[in-house]
Each structure stands twice: as C-alpha cells, then as structure tokens.
C-alpha cells in the first residue's frame, strides 16, 4: 500500500514569463486530418501465429528418428489389427498335420525364406540299407530314418560324411555298428590302445581290470528294449524297477557267479529331479551297506552301476550304466570319493534328446568314457511343405472322405448299372461291391486322390456270393495332402507354424494386439489414478502430502517381480486381473510426476487470482493447474507402454503369464524350448518386440523433446 508519506510535495519554481517567447495562438484551422476517410488497420504479425501444439509438432517433425519410429509404430499397430482380420488361418485349435512348417515366402529351392530346413549330420540307419555293392551305391540309397524324412521331400543332393569318431554318445545304440569302448579316468587320458572292440549292436561285456579306475558305458534303448532286457541283462536289475527313476547298484563276483546289491533307490526317496540334484546330500554310507549286505570288505572284481531312465517329454528313454572298477582293497573314503565323482546330472544332460533326432550335447559334462563308433551321417536340405503337404500314400484313407469326394463330384465309383460301388451303411460300416469296382477321377484339380483306385487298394471283409463286402473297409490311396486339408494350392505360411500348427503370422500379430491392449489399458488406469493421487498430494501439501508420500514410498519399494508374483498367485492371470496387478505399482511414477508439477504451479499468481475470485479446490486442480502440467506428464508417461510390454514378457517367462490369450511374452516364453531346433519361432516375435520397444522409446523421447525442449538431450 502506498501511504501519504511516500509522496513529497515539491514546490514548483515560479514561472518567469520573460524568457519564454510569447506563444502564438494555435487555432483549430492549424490542424489537418490526415486519415479522415481511411480505416485504420492493426499491423499484421510478421510471423505466422502458432499454438503450443503446433509448435511442438513442428519440433517433433524435425526429429527424423522419432518420425520414423512413429511410422513403424503406426504400422505395427495397424498390422496387429489388420493381420488377424485378414488371415483366415485358425489359431484357436491345434492342427497336428501342420506343425513346424518353416517360414516360406519364395518357392522351395530359392535358398532363402523358402520353407526348407537344413539338416546336417543326421545319422544314417544302416539297417534300412537296400542291397548295394559299391560304396557310391550305398551312399546313394542310404537315407536317415525313412519314417521321419522322406526322400521325396529332400531338395538337395545328399552329402555323406563318414565319421569314425562320434562325439555324441546317442548315436551308438541305433546307428553305430562298429566301434570301441574306451577305458579311462578322463577323456584326455584316453589313448588308442585301450579299446575294447565290438562289432554288433550288442553292448560288449565290459572286462574290468585293476588299473581301469573308472569306466562308464552308455547305451540308448527304447522302452520295450529295456523291458525285454531286464531279465537277460547281466546286471539283473529288479523287475519291479520303474522307468523314470534312479537307483544305484553294486555288483561283484564271488568265484564265477555274479552277486548284486542295491545300494540306494532314489526313486523311493525323491522324484528324479531332486535325486539328481541332491544325491550328494543324502550321505549314503556305501561302504557300510556293501559290508553289511555282502559280509565282505575286499573284492576281486566289482563295480557300481547306476540305472537311470527318464521317460519324460521329448526324452529318449535311456539306460545309463556307470561302472566303476576298483582294486581289491580300496579304503572306505576312497570308494566314497570315487562315487561322489560320478555325476548323474551330467549323464542326463548328455542324453537329453531334443526334437528332430538331434541330441543336445555339450562336452562340458565331464564324461569319464566315450564310445568310438563308426557311423554314416547325412546332410541335406529338406522341404517341410513338401513333407507335410505333398503327395504321399495314405495307408488307411478314410472311406467317409471318399464318399464325400464322390458327393462333391470330384470322383465317382460306378458299376455298369450306374450305382455307386461304395455305400455308407450307418450301423454296419461300409458296403463295397467287390466285383464291379471302377473308379474315375472327374475333377483332377480338386480331387485329393491322385490316381484312380482299384479294388486292390482296399482291404475288406470276406465278400458274400454276389461280391458285396460289408463291414470295416480300409483304403490305401495316394493323396495330395494339401487338397485333402482343404487348400486349393500348396499353402505358404510367411512366418511358419508352431508346435500346434498355428500360423505364426497371425499368432504373433494377435499376440502383439493383446500386448498392446494390456499396455494401453494399464497406461490409462495408471495415468488416471496416478494423476488423481498426485494432484491431491501435490495440491494440498502438508500432512496429506506426507502420508500419501509414505504410502507410495513403501508401495514403490516392493520389488516388482515379488509383488506381481504374489498378486497373480492370488488373483489368477486372466487379462483384467493381470492388468490390475500391473497397475498396482504402475501409477506411482505418474503420481510423483504430477505432484512435482502441482508443486511448481500451485503458488503461481493466476492460481491465487482464481482462488481470490472464489474458485473451488476441484476447479483449481482441474482447470488451472493440471492443464499446465499435462504436457510434461503425458509425454513422460507414454513410456509406461513399452515398460508394461517388457514387464508382461518377463512375467510370462516366470510361467505366470496371461492365460487363455496369447501375448508376445507368452509366445516368446512358450517357444523358448524350440530355440535349438526351430529358431524361427523365436526370431519373429523377438524382432517384433524389439522393434516395438525401440520405436516406442524413440517416439516417447521425440515427444518429450518436442513438448519440453528444455529437457532435450537428457534421454
């Protein structure tokens, strides 16, 4: 306030007239009006008027990488909507006939993206070898397990390699026909002279000598072979032995007869996983058991045997015999030390079978003995589409399908009288006129059967006198399978198909859409809640702020993974619950940012003015303060979206991902197991998620720089 004393009265000096020349009288006529008839305009701005949004947009457009990212992002979002609509392939049900097709864009044989798979060093089954005399002829006709790979589908010339040293033990049982067993303590110690030679598929009797400290022999069998071998096997394992378990045996010779003692049956103690993990923990006093059960302390010839058989998913049932020969007077500690050196974990790892007849094997396993076996290997390029969809002989073709083709007019079965020779009798099965069977293909374009059938293609019950067979009829037909599955031409899956035969193109973009929906929903909820929380906390300040801050403090400090795990375990992982769980801590960032903005603006004069004019708290918050901070808040919070997508994928890897719907994270974590065999299943979802994250981050940063130029460069 200005007061009276602020003003001082200054006396003006008296005006003296003498020095000032006498003023001339100025009359109204002296003035002329210059713009009497013209209208006066305000001068236009030299620059164009602009708004904040336009200005921000201009700055955003300058940032080339952000613009590119925006286009990529837009394309991805568009594809995630459009692709599942356009692509008619079914991804809800499984299609067992269409699994693991490679990505195909170009025709097979192009060499790139052509639906082929390259197989290298597939062991050749010599027992399937046809009569051939020369080495060249043999190689020409040998073919790895004909049940799995057909010659027809191979598109490159076979290349054979003759390996005498087989690194992988798995080849021995099936394909190794000649070879050696080697004795030794360490792989490095193995020398050429110590071989025990064998020439058949039989595992040789392992002769043990005093100086062969450690020996292990591995063999692979299938389940029946193990069952069959139970009685005959030298080791004479108990007949009630269950596959999938681990047990430790000790065998020794008493004179010429073989005696055996079961030392530990891990099956009765643990499941196989924990037995492998904790065999060292259960301190089994082996020497003591041996002594009490045999009454002897020294042995001439003896060995430990571990029998382990895993019958899990994709695992070849294997029978591992780890044998240990030791000198007649080993001390108790030495025996235990040698036992402890045997590694169960290693053995299972060495023989874990992955798909496609390949064995995942790494020589880190510290194997104590190896086989040297001679086997032939084959490398070739294989057309997966031809193998799955090409022409093949179906030995039990459905008669119902034949009748359907006839009904569609694609083929016909006619007797001279004009009736159909095959009929469907609902209760009795089928009816086949054996004597008058003729078959004709009417529409070769559409009919899946490639060659007209003859009566020899049928297996049927004894016909009656008039040549009519009634009952169960089986047909053998050469079928073009893509036509059978209802395709008009050989299908082409751009990104291949997965283990359930789902089209990866549709599946990935469907997953992308789910991920985006989850992220957007989370963003909206977190944003709304965080803004409300932050506004209240920041606007009122004081004790309200203190309490609210403490709550966010504690909530924000709970490790994210821990919180998510607990919430999902309690609530389940349906989409709404999943989003709720993500929102539990997601809003904290927004809240603290909003709070800062409110602290910044709440003391401004215009807020004070508005309050003086009687505006309510709600009005001040919503109309005056919040809009000012909105730009900063929203640009920073856009980055919640990639964060949520990332978190979602992380949680999926924990096995707690979304259920019943597929998101990018679920697809990635589900397909992780196929990395070694079908890497394309991971390649495309990985590329999509990486692209999404990169473009989202670039877009978010560009947006922030545009809205808030002062923050530029902070990244």
């Amino acid at each position: 306030m200005l007061e009276d004393k602020d003003f001082e009265f200054v006396e003006e000096a008296p005006v003296t007239n003498e020095e000032v020349p006498a003023e001339e009288e100025i009359t109204a006529d002296d003035f002329t009006l210059t713009e009497v008839d013209s209208t006066i305009h305000e001068q236009k701005f030299q620059t164009k008027p602009t708004t904040f949004t336009k200005d921000a947009f201009r700055r955003f457009k300058k940032n080339k990488s952000s613009v590119a990212a925006t286009y990529i992002l837009g394309t991805l979002v568009l594809l995630s909507i459009v692709v599942p609509l356009i692509d008619r392939n079914d991804i809800q049900n499984s299609h067992p006939e269409e699994i693991f097709l490679s990505p195909k864009l170009f025709n097979a044989g192009t060499g790139f993206w052509d639906g082929t798979e390259r197989y290298s060093n597939i062991a050749v089954d010599i027992s399937e070898m046809p009569n051939a005399t020369t080495e060249e002829e043999k190689q020409e006709h040998w073919w790895p397990s004909p049940d799995v790979y057909t010659q027809r589908s191979a598109i490159s010339k076979k290349k054979f390699t003759d390996l005498t040293y087989v690194n992988s033990l798995s080849n021995l049982g099936t394909f190794g026909k000649e070879g050696y067993v080697q004795f030794g303590f360490d792989r490095n110690e193995l020398k050429g002279n110590d071989f025990v030679e064998f020439s058949s598929q039989e595992i040789p009797e392992l002769e043990l000598t005093a100086d062969s400290l450690y020996l292990s022999a591995f063999d692979t069998y299938d389940a029946e072979k193990i069952q069959a071998k139970e009685g005959k096997e030298d080791f004479g394992l108990p007949t009630n032995y269950v596959l999938g378990d681990v047990a430790l045996f000790f065998s020794y010779y008493e004179g010429d007869t073989k005696q055996e003692v079961q030392l530990v049956d891990y099956a009765k103690v643990h499941n196989i996983g924990s037995a492998v993990a904790s065999y060292k923990k259960d301190k089994v006093d082996i020497a003591n058991i041996i002594t009490t059960q045999t009454g002897k302390t020294t042995f001439e010839k003896a060995r430990f045997a571990v029998k382990m058989a895993t019958a899990g998913e994709d695992t070849l049932v294997c029978n591992l015999i780890g044998a240990l020969a030791f000198e007649s007077n080993f001390a108790e500690e030495e025996t235990n030390a040698i036992f402890a050196d045997m590694s169960f974990t290693d053995a299972t790892k060495a023989l874990t079978k992955t798909a496609g007849d390949k064995f995942a094997y790494w020589s880190s396993t510290g194997l104590k003995a190896i086989y040297l076996s001679k086997a032939y290997f084959c490398s070739f390029v294989y057309d997966t589409y031809e193998a799955k969809y090409g022409i093949a002989v179906d030995k039990s073709f459905s008669i119902k399908d034949l009748l359907r083709y006839q009904k569609n007019g694609w083929m016909s079965f006619k007797t001279p009288l004009g009736d159909s020779t095959i009929q469907d009798l609902d209760s009795l099965g089928f009816y086949l006129d054996v004597n008058n069977f003729t078959c004709q293909i009417l529409d070769a374009e559409k009919c899946p059967i490639t060659k007209p059938l003859t009566i020899d293609d049928f297996v049927y019950p004894e016909p009656n006198d008039s040549g009519i067979a009634v009952g169960e009829i089986v047909c053998k037909a050469e079928v073009c399978r893509y036509k059978k599955y209802g395709y008009s031409s050989m299908p082409r899956f751009l990104l291949g198909t997965d283990e359930s035969g789902r089209d990866m193109l549709k599946y990935v973009f469907d997953g992308l859409r789910t991920s985006l929906i989850v992220a957007t929903l989370t963003f909206l909820i977190c944003f709304t809640f965080g803004v409300i929380w932050g506004s209240i906390s920041g606007y009122f300040g004081g004790n309200v702020d203190l309490i609210m801050e403490r709550i966010t403090d504690i909530l924000g400090r709970i490790p994210f993974m821990v919180l998510m795990t607990l919430l999902i375990l309690h609530w389940g992982s349906s989409l709404p619950m999943f989003v709720m769980a993500l929102c539990m801590t997601g809003w904290i960032g927004t809240a603290s940012l909003t709070r800062t903005q409110f602290y910044r603006f709440r003391g401004r004069e215009y807020v004070l003015a508005s309050r003086t004019l009687g505006a309510s708290d709600a009005r001040l918050i919503a109309k005056h303060i919040f809009p000012n901070g909105l730009g900063t808040i929203i640009t920073a919070e856009v980055l919640i979206i990639p964060g949520v997508i990332f978190s979602e994928a992380n949680i999926a890897y924990l096995g707690l991902g979304l259920q019943n719907v597929s998101s990018l994270g679920v697809i990635l974590s589900d397909n992780q197991k196929w990395l070694s065999v079908h890497p394309y299943l991971l390649l495309f979802p990985s590329i999509i998620i990486a692209l999404l994250m990169i473009s989202f981050n670039l877009f978010g940063n560009g947006l922030r720089d545009a809205v808030n130029p002062s923050l530029k460069g902070e990244d």
């Binding site: 009765k268 993990a277 590694s343 290693d346 995942a360 821990v562 890897y653 096995g655 460069g713």
Partner: protein, 351 residues
C-alpha cells in the same frame, strides 16, 4: 549427514519390515500344498519341523479318543497307539513365530520342496556365489566400457561417431535382455558351437565353466553399458557447453586439462551414485536371464521355488527378502552418495 543417514537406514528398516510382513501374509494366505509321494515318516518329520518353526500345531490323543476337528486338520498319523493331528496355525500366529525365529535364532525356516528340510537361508547362501560372480564381472565390464563409450560420444558430439554410438545405445537399451540372451545362445551355442548353450555343471572342466560366463555376462552387460554410455554422454554434453568450462579454457587450460579437471568431474556427479548402487545389486540375480541360461543363482531359485510342486514358500520368502533389502540398500546408497560426491548437495539439510 550422519543423522540423515541413520534416519534413512531406520526408514529403510521400517519399510523392509512392512514389505516383508505384507509378503509373508500374502504368501501364507495361499493354500498349503504338500508333497504326497514321500513316506509317512518323512511327512511327519516335515510337520514336526513346521511345528518347531511355529507354523503348525500338533495335538496328540490316545487312539481311542477321537479328536473332534475344529481346526483344519492337514493330516493325522497313528504312531504307537497315539494319534497325531497336524494343522496350520492362524496366519498372524505363524507370522509372529516367524519373526521370533528370525530375531532370536536367525532361523528363516526350512525348504519344503526343493531340498526337503534343508535350511532355506543356507540353500540360498549356496546359490549366492554364482549370481555374485556373474554380477561382479558384469559390473567390472560394463562400468568402464559404458563410461568410455559415453565420454567418447560426448566429446565427439554431433559427429558420425556420436550418431553411431547413440543409435546403437538407443537400440540396445530398448531391446529386452531376454531377447538378447536368446540370440546370443542361438548364435554362439547352437549355430557355431563356441559356447555352452546352458550353464555348465560344477563338475565340468574349468575351460568350459569359464566359457559359460560369457553369454550371461554379455546379456547382462549390454543394457548396463548402454545405460552408462547414455547417461555419461548426456551429462558431458551439458557440461561441455557450460560457462565455467569456457572460463577454464580462457584462463589458459588446454582442452584435455579442461575436460579432465572440470568437465568429467562435474559430469560424473549424477553417474557415480548409480554405479555405487549397482554394486549393491551384485547380490541379486536376474530371474529371467538366470532361468533362460539355467544358472543356479538366487534369481533362478525364485523361479524354481515358485514353479515347483509344492511351492517352496520359505525359500521364496528368503529370496523375496533378499531382493527387497538389496533394493532398499541400493536406494539409500544412491541418495547418500550424492552428498559425498558433490559437496554442494547436502542431504537432509533444511532449505
């Protein structure tokens, strides 16, 4: 400063306490699952250990007198004509005996499924060295590399070198770690066979075990290197355009002198705290990366405890406690180190 530090520590302690309380109650509120396949004697042993820890109660009655169940009996056994009824105690009671065991005996419970009746804290203690060894290498690799990269890019601002480094940093910061490790395994293990596709066992030869470190260290370092690179570059760019650097040059310092004595020192103020906080993070493990590479560390045991049937809640609790405490300590160190590094910043001082 000391007062502020103590205050922060106390606050962290309270926070940890609240978080662990909530976690315990949430974990215990999940239905109890028990292993069925084990023998009756072992199950009884397990229940007895639970009784000793205060999670369960037991009522012993002569066989003739049948117990009227008011509590949710989990299982009963008949031994020597006596009937033993085991039932879980109310969650709050369990909570207080859990707390009591920790404070009085430092007993965090026993494992219920991973290694039956083994001490949970010892179980995790065995896993800790693996995670720590990897993390230490990651810090040793990523901090110097990231800083050098950032300095280089910052000094060559707006040249093609800077643009290349910045773009690469942007890309690698965005690509999730699980994608990186997937591609590393695919390329270096399955395609070329140079490195083991999963963590080698402890009995593997030394060479293989050393090779086994490469993929997880690479996968964990990428993000870290890029984070530091980006931070250092941004700070350096800001400092380089500051007036005091111009003054330093004007008073006759060479460019290198100005950069080393003035620019770098100031640029590191916001970077050092995060480096220090990362050293605390050595104790933790990345759950997903450890799982993908099969590393038997503290992160992987979290996954194992969670996905084992039955779930191993005690191990889970200890693991969660580790992650919580690491997070809190890292936060404190982060805030406090600002005060040590930059004398202008006085933590906890009144304005």
């Amino acid at each position: 400063m000391l007062r502020y530090s103590l205050k922060r520590l106390l606050l962290a302690f309270v926070t940890a306490f609240i978080i662990l309380t909530l976690t315990f109650i949430l974990v215990k509120a999940l239905p109890v699952t028990l292993k069925i396949s084990t023998s009756a004697g072992e199950r009884m042993g397990f229940y007895d250990s639970q009784v000793a820890l205060g999670y369960f109660s037991v009522i012993v009655k002569p066989e003739t007198e049948h117990y009227q169940p008011t509590m949710k009996i989990i299982e009963s056994f008949v031994v020597d004509k006596k009937e033993y009824f085991y039932y879980p105690r109310p969650i709050l009671e369990q909570y207080f005996s859990w707390l009591g065991n920790i404070f009085t005996k430092w007993d965090w419970g026993t494992s219920t499924s991973l290694e039956l009746n083994a001490s949970a804290i010892r179980l995790i203690g065995r896993r800790l060295p693996v995670s720590m060894s990897i993390n230490i290498i990651v810090v040793l690799v990523s901090v110097p590399l990231g800083i050098l990269l950032g300095i280089y890019a910052g000094l060559k601002k707006n040249t093609w070198i800077d643009h290349t480094i910045s773009t690469l940093i942007m890309i690698f910061v965005s690509i999730p770690g699980f994608v990186v490790i997937t591609f590393l395994i695919f390329f270096f293990s399955y395609q070329t066979g140079w490195l083991p596709p999963s963590w080698p066992s402890s009995t593997a030869p030394l060479g293989t075990r050393i090779l086994g470190y490469i993929i997880p260290v690479l996968a964990l370092s990428f993000g870290s290197i890029c984070g530091y690179g980006r931070g250092v570059r941004a700070e350096l760019c800001e400092v380089m355009s500051s007036e005091y650097l111009l003054l330093a040059r004007t008073k006759g310092l060479t460019k290198n002198q100005a950069i080393i004595r003035h620019a770098l020192r100031n640029a590191f103020v916001p970077i050092l705290p995060s480096i220090l906080a990362e050293f605390i993070g050595i104790l933790g493990g990345s759950i997903v990366l450890e799982r993908l590479y099969g590393i038997p560390g503290v992160g992987n045991i979290y996954f194992e405890a969670l996905n084992n049937t039955p779930r191993d809640y005690n191990v889970l609790m200890v693991d969660m406690a580790i992650f919580t405490i690491i997070g809190l300590l890292a936060g404190i160190l982060f805030d406090l180190s600002y005060g040590f590094i930059d004398p202008r910043i006085r933590m906890g001082a009144k304005k």
